[in-house]
């Protein structure tokens, strides 16, 4: 049987406010346990929440970015359950009246599948603390630094039909929230966490299959792998005559398997009700429009502009606009070198390679956009070839400094003096009788391909510094002269 996969995502995005959603404590990551938890975060008796307006502003920004209805009246509710890292015994969240109503984003996978994914709603809520189960001799430690960190939970409709679409959707949300500057996008630190609702159904069937929820996945790669693993499990189960049970499962990336956490029967009745300590949040059009006026260029618009203005391919434009810091970097390189395509090739090629290998964010790249632009200028004015430029880039990355300094210090300037090149070409031809004979014997239209050998010899003799364009011209001219 042919199966169709149905996926909906719930993405938790930590908002980059400086203080918590309902208290004045700092939200900075990585502090000593419980040093960033005030009386309100500890839920001391008598304490009360006060809503951080910055979190509201950021949530509205997100809503506008996904073309959503903004809730002019939103209400915080209490979701009641007991857990040691939930100090109040309830999470303050939104349910019936969220800040962001229905919206949508458009996605495209690497394979070119395009789809509009509808967003059901997005709501504001507070994060819980962390339970630490190691180092406490059979007991658990509680760190409440994270408790009260503002989150926007973005709930999609079950509109995705493959793990690749799910990852593309998550990447798009990441692109939007980082472009808006409302989230630092650091997935390793948990700034964006993803729950995947996954089900399968026979192709053509309208009714959804029973879904499972994969909790807390914190990388795009794991989203794909976790869904693929879960889909395979569900299909095997059904084809073996079994039934999928509605439950929450945990993805174990080390074993690449999903495991049951709790079933629907264990689910809490959260007894939601409006939080009486907080008033409904009421905003008007002028508030919303003032925020709209501050929105930066969004990834989709930027992508369109990259295609339009720079003549980039859809794919390149998509990759470069997906992450704001990268898009900003790219545009600075374009400004510095004046060649959008060359800049795209280098940012997505050599630079991306070095960033990936060293696990470095582009914001922390040791080679600045201006410096990379300076390097590309030297390719364009034929001071160096593309191959030499890679060598220069490597040195810029490892040692620092501008392209010009390194070209000068390493003597990598390209030989463009045709006299000097002609002399070397003559020597190469004189020492390659066999290849010259083959060249002469070949059909004229196949001779172009045979230039490679001679080219290699010239480059070898010049240490790669000969201008490849000039060499090609001279080689062709001299070899063709032998054929007449």
């Amino acid at each position: 049987m042919e199966w169709e996969v149905v996926i909906g995502l719930e993405i938790h995005v930590q908002l980059s406010t400086t203080t918590k959603i309902f208290s004045g404590a700092s939200t900075a990551f990585g502090a000593e346990p419980n040093t960033q938890a005030c009386a309100v975060d500890l839920a001391l008796p008598g304490t009360l929440p006060v809503f951080n307006e910055n979190a509201l502003r950021m949530a509205v920004m997100f809503g506008l970015a996904v073309d959503a209805e903004i809730g002019k009246r939103s209400v915080f509710e209490r979701k009641n359950y007991f857990y040691p890292d939930l100090p109040k015994g309830y999470q303050t969240t939104q349910l019936a009246e969220p800040i962001v109503g229905p919206g949508h984003v458009d996605i495209e996978t690497d394979e070119g599948v395009k789809r509009r994914v509808r967003i059901h709603h997005a709501h504001l809520e507070e994060d819980a603390g962390k339970s630490l189960h190691e180092d406490f001799h059979g007991m658990s430690g509680i760190d409440l630094n994270r408790a009260g960190t503002p989150l926007v939970e973005i709930v999609s409709e079950p509109d995705m039909r493959s793990s690749k679409e799910a990852a593309a959707y998550a990447r798009k949300i990441h692109a939007i929230v980082t472009t808006l500057g409302i989230c630092d996008g650091n997935m390793a630190e948990g700034s964006m966490r993803c729950d995947c609702n996954v089900s399968v159904r026979p192709k053509g069937q309208e009714a959804f299959g029973t879904r499972t929820e994969l909790k807390n996945i914190n990388s795009f790669r794991f989203i794909e792998r976790a869904i693929d693993t879960e889909v395979a499990r569900q299909i095997d189960l059904i084809e073996d005559g079994g039934k999928v049970v509605q439950e929450t499962r945990l993805y174990d990336p080390d074993r690449n398997e999903t495991r049951s956490m709790r079933s629907k029967e264990d689910a809490n009745d959260y007894r939601y009700f409006p939080c009486p300590d907080l008033l409904p949040v009421v905003i008007d059009d002028s508030y919303i429009e003032a925020i709209r006026a501050t929105l930066p260029e969004l990834p989709d618009a930027r992508r369109a502009r990259f295609i339009d203005e720079y003549g980039l391919s859809e794919y390149d434009a998509g990759v470069l606009s997906a992450y704001r810091a990268q898009a900003d970097y790219y545009e600075q390189v374009v400004n510095a070198c004046g060649d959008a395509k060359l800049a795209a090739n280098w940012v997505m090629g050599e630079l991306a390679k070095f960033l990936n290998q060293s696990d470095t964010d582009i914001k922390d790249s040791p080679v600045s956009a201006e410096q990379l632009g300076g390097l590309l200028v030297r390719i364009k004015d034929n001071t160096i070839s593309g191959n030499i430029a890679k060598k220069v880039f490597e040195l810029m990355w490892s040692r620092g400094g501008s392209a010009d300094e390194i070209i000068e210090a390493e003597g990598l300037k390209q030989v463009t003096d045709t006299g000097a090149i002609e002399q070397i070409v003559d020597e190469v031809i004189a020492n390659a009788d066999k290849q010259v004979e083959q060249y002469k014997a070949a059909e004229p239209e196949k001779r172009g391909k045979m230039l490679g050998f001679f080219m290699g010899q010239v480059m070898k003799a010049t240490g790669g510094k000969a201008n490849p364009g000039a060499v090609t011209g001279i080689l062709k001219q001299k070899l063709d002269a032998l054929c007449d």
Partner: protein
């Protein structure tokens, strides 16, 4: 000295008739000698009180004294007090010393008041008799076999017994007004949002409101001057100017329009109480007020609505008492669930558990609409009734309670009959309106309270009316026998 009001004591301090240290020492000694009979204090903060008194005397000597400098008061034990036990009348918080001051406490400190100690109360403010306190019931100074009312029973008893000239209370369904009535003192529940709730341990957040309890309306006005006002730490606290409540106490009452709700004078009301209230209303007529009958048809519905909303909020508010971070934790828990169950099972008393269960049930997915939503609808209707009536009259008057103080233990096995005691007070909390209780006579040697209900933020008016009443009557000056 112990018969003096706050206003009179302030005058004495200003004139140098006595120092704050002398005053404070005298009250501390009196508490030590007398409170065994009343059990009105959970904690007496002797050392701190004397230090505050000393500082107050220095301020008075330096000419830096404010209206409240050096005056002793007590706080209901649900106001958090830094480094002092804040028990909320519960075993759960018997070991809890707050690391911070409630806004109300901080404001009294700022004003130079001296805190004598923390008063007894129904556990987590859940009760109308003070019997649910982990520290045992406070007793009514008029008859120590009787309850002082609740939940601010300790404050009521302490003021009536002259163990403190005044005390703070909190009122979720009548917890200031009912003990004030039963103890023969004066108390006011301000408009919801008038006094900060920050640091006042929550019972039912949408109903709780702190307020003063003293012997006179004038003293309540002095206290409210300190307590009222915007607090950025409480989102439900209103940013609205605070008048000087003592400035308008002497406004004449000529032309005052009083409404008497038919429903407050039904057969369920003790006829002797009805008579005392009618006599009080007659005094107002002498002062130039006019009286008309009005109707609050949903009065009876306030009990079921309240006993859904308050427990629902309480069930969530009290979830933080889980044994994890502070408060009572059971011995040797087997695992997390065991710790939760036994810490809460052993730390909370019966009435608190009853309300947590009722509230949890009311909020459950299948019952939410039938209970919580319905109760909220009734709440809005009750509010509309008041608004409608208050378009027609300036204030509403009636009895504070249907009966005088009952005997300790009398209603222990009948929670519904206990809940019925709050019939006249609950609806104000549901509507968020201010109300006060003023002594208006006695029945069988026990005090009776007149309730005065006003429009939103009409505290100054209520205090003015009560003060004028106290200028022509002496019910508030009566002291229990042997006091």
């Amino acid at each position: 000295m112990f018969d003096k009001t706050l206003a009179e004591l302030a005058e004495g301090l200003r004139k140098g008739d006595f120092s704050s240290v002398e005053l404070t020492s005298a009250y501390l000694a009196r508490i030590k000698a007398e409170d065994g009979r009343f059990n009105s204090f959970i904690t007496v903060t002797e050392a701190q009180a004397l230090a505050q008194a000393k500082a107050a005397d220095a301020a008075i000597a330096a000419g830096n004294a404010g209206a409240f400098t050096g005056l002793p008061i007590a706080h209901k034990d649900l106001f958090c007090t830094q480094d002092v036990r804040t028990s909320c009348g519960s075993k759960m918080l018997d070991n809890f010393a707050s690391p911070y001051d409630a806004t109300v406490v901080a404001r009294f400190k700022q004003a130079g008041a001296v805190m004598l100690g923390k008063t007894n109360m129904d556990e987590f403010a859940m009760g109308s008799s003070n019997e649910s306190s982990f520290y045992g019931p406070a007793r009514n100074p008029w008859n120590t076999d009787c309850v002082p009312g609740g939940s601010s029973g300790g404050s009521g008893a302490a003021v009536a017994a002259r163990l403190t000239p005044a005390a703070t209370g909190s009122d979720t369904g009548g917890s200031i007004r009912q003990p004030a009535a039963l103890c023969g003192i004066t108390g006011i529940k301000p408009t919801y949002g008038r006094v900060s709730r920050y640091g006042m341990i929550a019972y039912a957040s949408s109903l709780d409101q702190g307020g003063p309890m003293a012997r006179t309306a004038e003293d309540c006005a002095m206290m409210l001057n300190v307590m009222a006002g915007f607090d950025p730490m409480d989102s439900t606290c209103l940013d609205r100017e605070v008048p000087d409540y003592t400035a308008t106490l002497n406004e004449p009452l000529a032309g005052l329009k009083i409404g008497l709700p038919t429903e407050y004078f039904s057969d369920a009301l003790d006829p002797q109480i009805a008579e005392r209230v009618q006599a009080a209303v007659a005094e107002f007529e002498k002062l130039g007020a006019t009286v008309k009958e009005v109707s609050l048809p949903r009065t009876e519905l306030s009990i079921p609505a309240y006993y859904i909303i308050a427990p629902a909020e309480a069930s969530s508010n009290l979830s933080r008492f889980d044994g994890v971070r502070y408060g009572y934790r059971c011995e040797n828990p087997k695992d997390l669930e065991d710790m939760y169950k036994r810490s809460r099972g052993e730390g909370f008393g019966a009435e608190v558990k009853r309300r947590i269960m009722v509230g949890t049930y009311a909020l459950c997915a299948g019952y939410y609409d039938a209970y919580y939503n319905k109760a909220q609808q009734i709440r809005r209707l009750i509010q509309q009734d008041f608004v409608r009536v208050l378009e027609d009259v300036d204030v509403i008057m009636g009895p504070t309670t249907p009966h005088p103080a009952f005997r300790i233990g009398e209603k222990n096995n009948d929670p519904v009959s206990m809940y019925m005691e709050d019939i006249f007070t609950l609806s104000l909390n549901l509507a968020g309106l201010p109300g006060m209780s003023v002594p208006c006579g006695q029945v069988d040697g026990l005090p009776v309270g007149l309730q005065i209900i006003g429009d939103y933020f009409a505290e100054a008016k209520l205090l003015n009316i009560a003060h004028q009443f106290q200028q022509v009557t002496d019910h508030h000056q009566q002291a229990p026998a042997g006091i």
